[in-house]
Amino acid sequence: MSAATEFRTAPPPVGLRERAGRGKLGIVALILFVALVAALAIGARPGDYVALSTENSTPTGTRAVAQILRDHGVAVRQVDRLAQTRVADPAATTVVIAEPHLLTTGQLGSLVDYPGDLVLLGSSDESLEALGVPAREQIVGLPETAAAQCEDPDAIAAGSVRVDGWGLEALDDGSDLCFVQRGGLAAFARVDDGGRTVTVIASTALVTNDALAEHGHAALAVRALGRHPDVVWYVADGLDPSLLTWAGSGTDGEVPTEVEATPDFLPPGTGNAIYALALTALLAAFWQARRFGALVREPLPVVVRASEATRGRARLYRRARATGRAAASLRAAAALRMGRRIGVGRADGREALVSAVSRATGRTTSDIERLLYGPPPADDASLLTLISELDALESEVHRP
């Protein structure tokens, strides 16, 4: 037998087929399959919970009104970004803006420039002022159902709606406001802004799935939103800075958002170099994470301090304020040590020890009697005093 055969070598690597045979590959495949199914199931769930979105079927959404509009032959199209509106014919299109308080100043400007009809679901002081609605928004303190009380045909057709949430407070004679409750707050406003109409539904609850069927909500919503064969619906989210676009707007609606990452004082390409170094860091992580062989297990012994039991007993004494018990132990231990020193055994009794200690120290027997067999100390302070007195006595006995 040659020396080389004593060497141990790595077994040949395990192939894919053997691993599959062992069932490991099957388990991995099963996990992947389950993960895929779970991802599809989660992805297929209705994910739109944005308030006032036409895809949202929960009570806060507006899917119901959108479907009613479609049933009446109105094409409702919701856009995620304002730039995607691309209104082909402003004269035949209603642009619906939900949550207008989240619009940027630039977006408001594009709304002002837009020639077609606008419907605001909700309101803000900035948007009302920019679009020429002479009103201010206020929180409705007294929600109530109000009648139209204006000449607008849509409002009259609706009859009455509930004023709730937010309302409009007139800044002029209030001739444009409808459904005014007792606090003077209106749910609805409509102004003619030279060639186009701006409609504000301040109490947005009335177009939601939840409340659409109540009072004259459905009538008001359908009449206000369905004036033209096309509706473009946009829910502002505060993250999209792009502008409203229409045929002839002369812009693609995009606002330059990217800030130049490289400041002027760094040479050009620094950002790309840092990018390359960040990729390198990933490789470095793999380089360092790959372990040179497995860790070796170390069976560790039990570590219990021998004094644990005594320390536990000390804590019990302290918690119970057992000064008597602690003092009795210390007295007995001191008596044992002194007795050994002066040759008095345990069996000799108390008197023998007291008189022997008295002889050894020159103290009176009553003093020693009190120290070794006196009443238990009442509190911590007298325990400490007793201990120091015992120490003094013991040192006198042990003095040569």
């Binding site: 790595a10 840092i274 004094s307 000390a314 400490l384």
Partner: protein
């Protein structure tokens, strides 16, 4: 597979073209190129199955000493292999440097030494040997671990052997070999020899003088060929730590020192480690005893069990038939009262002389002397209570006729030996 630092360095160089081109795509292309090169290198690296390893570990080492184990690495293939090996050992084996780089021509064998300095008694196991081979570009390579079992038995330190010379001197004083010759209890008649000036005239043997025509004296020597049975308690109380080591370690030191001393004195020593069953045994005679003792006690570990004292009594009775010294290295505390230790000592004491050795806790003494605050006062009270309970148990054992030695861990071995010498001098073995 694994990658080397060169791969990372090469990837870092990609920052320059990325900066010059001012393009992230260049950075991505560069990194993908580097990864592709590394993969190519892995593919071209020699297979790890072409590398053979062989471990050679010495049988035993004393704790606190260092030992060199060797790892032979052989190239079994037909290409030169560059790589590295890791000679993994358990952390308590105290391996100094475990990684070794190699470059082997076909058929070449290279030996590497790994210095072990174990920190714990017992069998220290080696882990797998991990082999890395590098590809021709040094960017990456293959890695596999090879099982190559090996172990080093770490014997007890026997730090108390420094006490042995002074005890051997005492032994010789009892023995007839020194100037002090005493006859009496504990010694037996050895031989007659010629009188020399300085010998005690009282030791002249007149009958022999009359028979031989010259003055002869009797010489005595201590009793020999006595039996000494050392029983170590490895049950739960031996696991408690006193200072830095469990109580069992102090017991092992005491066993080794007493074994060495008693075998020098000509007594027959046997040792047993015991909790509910016998864990280790050593019963050689003569010079092999110490090696066997150390080897047997090296792997003894405390077990968290109650000791079975009646079984120990039966074991001792079955091992020795004549009167012997039974040394119980255990823990004397209040639990001895109901664990059966007292009854066991009583049973053993009927036919043998029992010596009970117990490790005291220095922390208890510190607690007893602590006067810093009220909390310390309660600690002192609890320590005093523990001390009294132990004294009570020890007194009970002494009343049965047993010898009791209570010592701090470092003093247990010499204290037990001193008591053995005293017993021997008094002829009570």
């Amino acid at each position: 597979m694994h990658i080397t630092g060169w791969t990372v360095a090469l990837a870092a160089l990609g920052a320059i073209p990325a900066a010059l081109a001012e393009s992230r795509n260049v950075a991505w292309l560069w990194i993908i190129g580097v990864v592709a090169l590394a993969l190519l290198d892995v593919w071209m690296a020699p297979r790890t199955s072409r590398v053979g390893v062989r471990r050679q570990a010495p049988g035993a080492v004393r704790l606190s000493q260092s030992v060199r184990t060797t790892l032979d690495v052989a190239n079994l293939g037909r290409r030169r292999v560059r790589g590295a090996v890791r000679d993994a050992w358990q952390p308590s084996a105290g391996a100094a440097s475990t990684r070794h780089a190699f470059s082997l021509a076909p058929g070449e064998v290279q030996s590497f030494g790994t210095i072990l300095r174990p920190t714990r008694r017992g069998d220290r196991q080696a882990g797998a040997v991990t082999v890395r081979t590098y590809g021709p570009l040094r960017l990456a390579g293959r890695q596999r671990s090879i099982e190559a079992p090996a172990h080093v038995r770490v014997l007890p330190e026997f730090a108390s052997r420094r006490h042995l010379p002074s005890r051997l001197v005492q032994l010789r004083e009892i023995d007839g070999r020194t100037a002090v010759r005493l006859k009496g209890a504990g010694s037996e008649f050895d031989s007659l020899r010629e009188y020399v000036i300085g010998d005690d005239v009282r030791s002249i043997d007149w009958r022999g003088t009359a028979r031989r025509g010259e003055v002869v004296v009797r010489t005595y020597r201590p009793e020999r060929d006595r039996r000494v049975v050392i029983a170590l308690d490895t049950a739960r109380l031996s696991a408690a730590r006193v200072g830095d080591a469990p109580r069992l370690d102090a017991s092992i030191e005491a066993t080794l020192l007493l074994g060495a001393l008693a075998s020098h004195a000509g007594d027959r020593v046997q040792a047993t480690a015991f909790d509910r069953v016998e864990r280790a045994r050593a019963a050689s005679s003569g010079p092999q005893l110490m090696a066997e003792l150390a080897d047997a006690l090296a792997t003894v570990e405390p077990s968290l069990l109650e000791p079975d004292w009646p079984a120990l009594v039966r074991l001792v009775q079955s091992r020795v038939s004549q009167r012997s010294l039974v040394v119980l290295l255990t823990t004397v505390d209040t639990s001895a009262m109901d664990s059966g230790l007292i009854e066991a000592v009583a049973a053993l004491q009927k036919r043998h002389q029992v010596l009970v050795g117990s490790v005291e806790d220095p922390e208890l003494g510190a607690m007893l002397a602590d006067r810093s605050d009220a909390e310390a006062a309660y600690g002192a009270g609890a320590a005093a209570r523990a001390m009294l309970e132990r004294e009570a148990a020890a007194t009970r054992l002494r009343q049965l006729g047993a010898e009791v030695v209570l010592s701090l861990p470092d003093d247990l071995a010499p204290a037990v030996c001193d008591r053995y010498l005293a017993l021997k001098a008094a002829g009570r073995l």
